[in-house]
């Protein structure tokens, strides 16, 4: 190993990109689902409305993930 190189990365950097792209949506979907569970536990009669809002939250979060994964394959 060349003593001048202190650190080197081998392999495909896109994989690291996919890992980074998975963090955001992972946190996002966790917050969306967790808060919906909390709200449904507090007011079960509002489940229908909460589901609709959650559906929108999931859709936005997963779009971010889709774009991240798609760019991973394009790069």
């Amino acid at each position: 190993m060349d003593p001048i190189i202190l650190a080197e990365v081998t392999g495909n950097l896109n994989t690291v990109g996919y890992g980074l792209a998975a963090i955001g949506p992972g946190i996002g979907i966790g917050i969306v689902a967790g808060k919906t569970v909390e709200a449904m536990a507090r007011q079960p009669e509002l489940a229908g409305r909460l589901q609709v809002t959650m559906f929108l939250g999931i859709a936005f979060t997963e779009l971010l993930a889709f774009i991240g994964v798609a760019l991973f394959f394009l790069g």
């Binding site: 449904m40 079960p44 609709v52 559906f55 936005f60 779009l63 774009i67 798609a70």
Partner: protein, 148 residues
């Protein structure tokens, strides 16, 4: 009480918009890369819309158990399980299609993103226009008779 009507509308309009994106994408893909571009654009449109619609479909499926005592558990198990399964499927599909000679990756993923964004826009409009009442009379056979 559930909001199945909105999810059904979202599924139907998601399908309509996927067909529209597929037609437009196919024309653009054909002009860029011939039949390879056309195939890629069509597959991308179907994948993008189908994967975004899985959420609505999983919620509709989970709402069949609205009368169950375990409803909340079943609901989140089905919806989040479907979400995870969808991403695994998407990754497998992308890995399989990546090296195929009849696929143009740029057109495929542009089409996936276009289709997903379009479906999201349609979903947002439907949710904003959809009216979910606080209470609703139960309809026999919809599984919500004893739902709280």
């Amino acid at each position: 009480m559930t909001a199945n009507k909105i999810f059904r509308t979202a599924l139907i309009w998601g399908g309509v918009i996927a067909v529209l994106i597929g037609v437009v994408g196919a024309i653009i893909g054909w002009n860029i890369d011939g039949s390879v571009g056309l195939t890629s654009a069509l597959i991308g449109a179907v994948v993008g819309a189908a994967f975004l619609s899985i959420t609505a479909a999983s919620i509709l499926f989970a709402n069949r158990y609205a009368a169950s005592d375990m409803y909340v558990t079943i609901f989140f198990g089905v919806v989040l399980g479907g979400w995870l399964l969808k991403f695994v499927l998407f990754l497998v599909l992308a890995i399989v299609l990546r090296d195929q000679p009849w696929i143009n990756l740029l057109i495929l993923f542009t089409s996936v993103i276009a289709s997903a964004v379009a479906t999201l826009v349609v979903d947002t409009i439907i949710v904003m226009k959809g009216r979910v009442p606080y209470t609703a009379p139960s309809v026999a056979g919809d599984g919500t008779e004893n739902a709280s």
